[in-house]
């Protein structure tokens, strides 16, 4: 999250030089008019470069950058044409213009000083956006990368006016911008958009001289916004008019939402501006509707950065990465009343088992934890002296154990605060046997495949077998890994894969009302030993059922058989289903009325029809079995009921509507890609996760695929790098006496190699008591994600 505004300035000159090239690169638009504006704008860069930016007057060199955010949506078409360059540039978010493979922002890449002003306000991340633009520009096609950032910039409330060079002034202006945004923020996207338009106008006003200048425009801005703040230095005025005009042109061009939802301010704005500047294109642009069915690339290509919490630099340096642990409000309100006034949800989004580039692993005999709340020691505790530490979640004073005084990394004694647990907010502990209920389980994988006629028609079996054959060696595990296969149509088929057999044997159980396991113990076999047999089975499986005429699907009994097979060990079950289960326990009716699909009454049948799958999922969760569901059906298959089997057993759901291996190549490709990721991604077994928060905060609702075993303990049978969770937090007591609120997520799991580990993430956020600060720290992406999960 560092803000490389610094790198901007150094390369701003190069930017200026590149801009004509941008102008040259810009023209190939599909949308002629916006293209025209874009070209004009780019060409004006060299002229406008010394002019002050919309916000801070001192950042002259940043001027070209700030103008780019107002690029119209059509500019995204340029990105399409220059697509090849962009994906490679995307990883290079905040580093110097050398390609770097990782997304880890260089924490101290830039000098320390510019970090400080950027800390304060969301506009800071605007600054970093510009930083990325400039740094990305040099190696790649310039025109492309410029355009990338602005749109999402625009969509978020924080003004793209970058603070930066002069902390005092910048902070002041940004501080003043923030309230105007926040005063109106939150209602609807169009409002946000309008508000940000106004803010940009505000910035425009500050940069230029204030009212009374030669141009009539500022007067109208004043009347439009109703709130003015002291303008910037009056110098560079002539350049400003040019800048401002360009700014306003693009602002007006860039309002996709008003066509969807008429917003009075915008139309007033465009009318006023249209009349003022007397530019005929402007009026047309101002009222240009956006056809969402044609212009599909409205979203930014590059992932947006999260806002940085307003903390001191050394705390920010060790704070948890927002890719892993993110809060909807990066400044926590002090009281529940303030939170209610803000009308924003307070919650956390976690991605605890994410693939990490670097992860400190602590092998210590004692894991230091608070005595009362059992929090793991983290970078945000306070050391009272060398031998005592104060927990940051419950404020209890604990003792530092003797072995903690020794720092193995630097081989020094007496510096507990230099130990890696206290220097990193994401650590992994190796868990001792106290943390194990039973010896760590091996990796056990069971594949339950639908082989009814419908499935053969859909043709997924070949894709699955090919993918598994290819990735059989890459599946996570060690020498104890076990696999098994189960196929079902109207009966359930087991496969005996004992090593020593010449070929796999199929055992059919047709009593689906009371499924039993045929008494072979080699239905789940060690992968290393029976590898050849497994490969034989996979190669012959598609052909075995190609003439199948069975139309029924006994999914319920197959799942019960799977449960019985996996109960002793736990593991992962992957279920592939291509139609509505029609036989045996858990059979479902087609309860959808196709005529009602477009009814105005609202979507019905969103809840489960039976709780068979939910009960099964709870049983599986108790035996540490995770069930993943691949639904490849072309007709109604009641996903609402089937999904329960994955939802409560911490599995994943993959849905391919109207899958067919010939007629729907898009879904086929998607399945292939998903399968490759699915087979090769890391996995953790028999996991539990607990989320702790500072005293005064409490978690009240959980969203995600897991089973809530206790008030903040989530039971996850399987955890994988793609699983993410959302929780909602409420403020029970006032946080007036603490300036920092911390959250800790601890995931205890068994790795695929049979090692018991604890991954701990700690996030620290400041506590504020002003509504404006709450809005300044709102993370719009996180809020949207939480809202999408709520309700």
């Amino acid at each position: 999250m560092s803000a490389p505004g610094y790198t901007n300035r150094s390369s701003s000159a190069s930017f200026g030089q590149n801009s004509p090239a941008n102008g040259g690169a810009a023209p190939p638009f599909q949308n002629g008019e916006t293209g025209r504006i874009m070209v004009r704008f780019c060409l004006s860069h060299p002229l406008a470069s010394p002019a002050p930016p919309p916000s801070s007057s001192a950042q002259y060199s940043h001027q070209p950058f700030q103008q780019t955010p107002y690029a119209p949506p059509g500019s995204y078409y340029v990105q399409q044409s220059c697509q090849t360059s962009l994906p490679q540039t995307q990883p290079q978010t905040q580093t110097q213009p050398q390609p770097q493979p990782t997304l880890v922002p260089a924490p101290a890449a830039g000098p320390g000083a510019p970090l400080y002003p950027i800390v304060s306000y969301p506009s800071a991340h605007g600054c970093s956006q510009y930083g990325t633009l400039s740094s990305l520009q040099n190696p790649s096609t310039p025109g492309v990368t410029q355009i990338a950032a602005p749109l999402h910039h625009y969509n978020t409330a924080p003004p793209p006016c970058a603070t930066g060079v002069q902390p005092g002034y910048a902070a002041g202006s940004a501080g003043q911008t923030a309230p105007t945004v926040n005063g109106q923020g939150g209602a609807g996207t169009s409002e946000v958009l309008a508000v940000s338009i106004e803010i940009q106008l505000n910035c425009g006003e500050t940069s230029s001289s204030t009212t009374g200048s030669a141009s009539p425009a500022p007067n109208s801005y004043d009347s439009l916004e109703g709130g003015s703040f002291p303008g910037g230095p009056p110098s560079h005025f002539t350049k400003n008019t040019q800048v401002r005009k360009n700014v306003t042109e693009l602002i007006c061009a860039f309002d996709p939402l008003p066509s969807l939802q008429p917003f009075p301010n915008l139309s007033q704005l465009s009318a006023a501006l249209g009349g003022l500047s007397g530019v005929p294109e402007l009026e047309v642009e101002a009222l240009r509707p956006v056809n969402l069915l044609q212009e599909r690339n409205l979203l930014p290509q590059r992932p947006q950065e999260a806002p940085e919490p307003n903390l001191s630099p050394d705390l920010k340096k060790v704070n948890c990465s927002p890719q892993t642990f993110r809060c909807t409000l990066t400044s926590i309100p002090q009281t529940q009343a303030l939170l209610n006034k803000a009308r924003l949800p307070l919650g956390l989004l976690l991605h605890p088992f994410r693939d990490l580039q670097q992860l400190p692993v602590i092998t210590s005999n004692t894991i230091v934890r608070c005595r009362s709340c059992r929090t793991y020691i983290n970078p945000f505790v306070t050391f009272l002296d060398q031998h005592r530490w104060k927990c940051n979640l419950c404020y209890r004073v604990n003792d530092v154990p003797d072995e903690f005084m020794y720092n193995p990394v630097s081989r020094s004694y007496g510096e507990p605060h230099m130990r890696p647990e206290v220097q990193n907010s994401t650590v992994e502990f190796i868990a001792s046997s106290d943390y194990m209920l039973r010896p760590p389980q091996p990796a056990v994988y069971l594949f339950v495949l639908d082989v009814s006629h419908n499935a053969v028609e859909a043709g997924y079996l070949k894709v699955f077998c090919d993918s598994l054959l290819e990735n059989l060696d890459k599946m996570p595990g060690d020498s104890r890994t076990r696999v098994g296969f189960l196929t079902f149509d109207s009966t359930v088929h087991f496969y005996n894969l004992q090593e020593g057999l010449s070929q796999p044997q199929m055992l059919v159980v047709s009593d689906i009302d009371d499924v039993f396991i045929p008494s072979h113990d080699s239905l789940m076999v060690n992968l290393k030993e029976s590898r050849e047999l497994v490969k034989d089975l996979l190669t012959s499986l598609p052909a075995m059922f190609s003439q199948s005429r069975e139309t029924h699907s006994a999914l319920g009994p197959a799942l019960q058989a799977a449960f019985k097979l996996m109960s002793p060990t736990g593991g992962r079950v992957s279920v592939f289903q291509t139609q509505l289960p029609s036989l045996g326990a858990g059979k479902l009716q087609s309860r959808e009325d196709p005529n009602q699909r477009s009814s105005t009454k609202g979507v019905q049948h969103l809840g489960p029809a039976t709780d068979f799958y939910k009960k099964l999922a709870l049983d599986c969760s108790g035996q540490q079995i995770g069930v993943d569901l691949f639904l490849l059906s072309s007709q109604y298959a009641d996903l609402a009921s089937l999904a329960c089997v994955s939802k409560y057993s911490a599995g994943s759901i993959f849905y391919y509507p109207s899958f067919h291996h010939v007629h729907n190549p898009a879904q086929l490709q998607k399945l292939q890609k998903d399968l490759e990721r699915y087979f090769t991604r890391k996995i953790g077994f028999e996991a539990v996760m607990r989320i702790r928060c500072t005293k005064g905060l409490s978690i009240h609702t959980f969203h995600g695929n897991f089973f809530v075993r206790s008030t903040d303990l989530l039971s996850l049978a399987n955890v994988n790098p793609d699983s993410a969770f959302a929780v909602q937090v409420s403020i029970e007591d006032s946080l007036a006496d603490s300036s920092l609120a911390c959250f800790q997520a601890a995931l205890l799991y068994t790795s695929s190699k049979g090692k018991r580990r604890i991954r701990v993430h700690t996030l620290c956020l400041p506590v504020v008591n002003q509504l404006s600060d709450v809005y300044a720290g709102a993370d719009v992406q996180a809020i949207t994600c939480l809202l999408a999960n709520m309700g």
Binding site: P608, D611, V688, V708, R709, S710, T711, L713
Partner: protein, 159 residues
């Protein structure tokens, strides 16, 4: 002291209300234990306790299911009895609770066995808080009705 049918009804209601009070208290204790699970004192093993607790919790929910229906049936039996005994005031006082029970049962989550509580959603703080409040309200109501029936019994049997 006339031993009428009404007096008999009140006597029976008195005894059964004691049972209902017991159910309400059990209800409160069950939810309180569910809620405070996380406040378990220093536990060395993260998985040991929760596994046991989890089984207990599911079981507890099942017990709650066993509690819920008898309670509703007993209360329904009261209402029928008072209707037969023509004790209209008492009947009217119990009707709201009867309506509440019917509503609660009709709007329960989809499940195959008769019951009100779904183990997957019960740990949501809002549902948990609602159930606790419900427990306390019911306890208060049953206590009040206990004393009301006692008064009613004396009243009726001394007519």
């Amino acid at each position: 002291m006339a031993f009428t049918f009404a007096a008999f009804c009140y006597m029976l209601a008195l005894l059964l209300t004691a049972a209902l009070i017991f159910f309400a208290i059990w209800h409160i204790i069950a939810f309180d234990e569910l809620k405070t699970d996380y406040k378990n004192p220093i536990d060395q093993c993260n998985t040991l306790n929760p596994t046991v607790e989890k089984v207990k919790k599911i079981k507890r929910v099942k017990i709650a299911l066993k509690l819920v229906l008898p309670e509703y049936l007993i209360h329904f039996f009261f209402c029928v009895m008072f209707f037969c005994a023509a004790e209209w005031l008492t009947l009217f006082l119990n009707l709201p609770l009867l309506a509440y029970h019917v509503w609660r049962y009709m709007s329960r989550p989809v499940m195959s066995c008769p019951g009100l509580y779904d183990p997957t959603t019960i740990m949501n703080a809002d549902i948990l808080a609602y159930c606790q409040k419900e427990g306390w309200c019911k306890l208060a109501f049953y206590l009040l009705s206990f004393f009301y029936y006692l008064y009613g019994y004396v009243n009726v049997s001394s007519d």
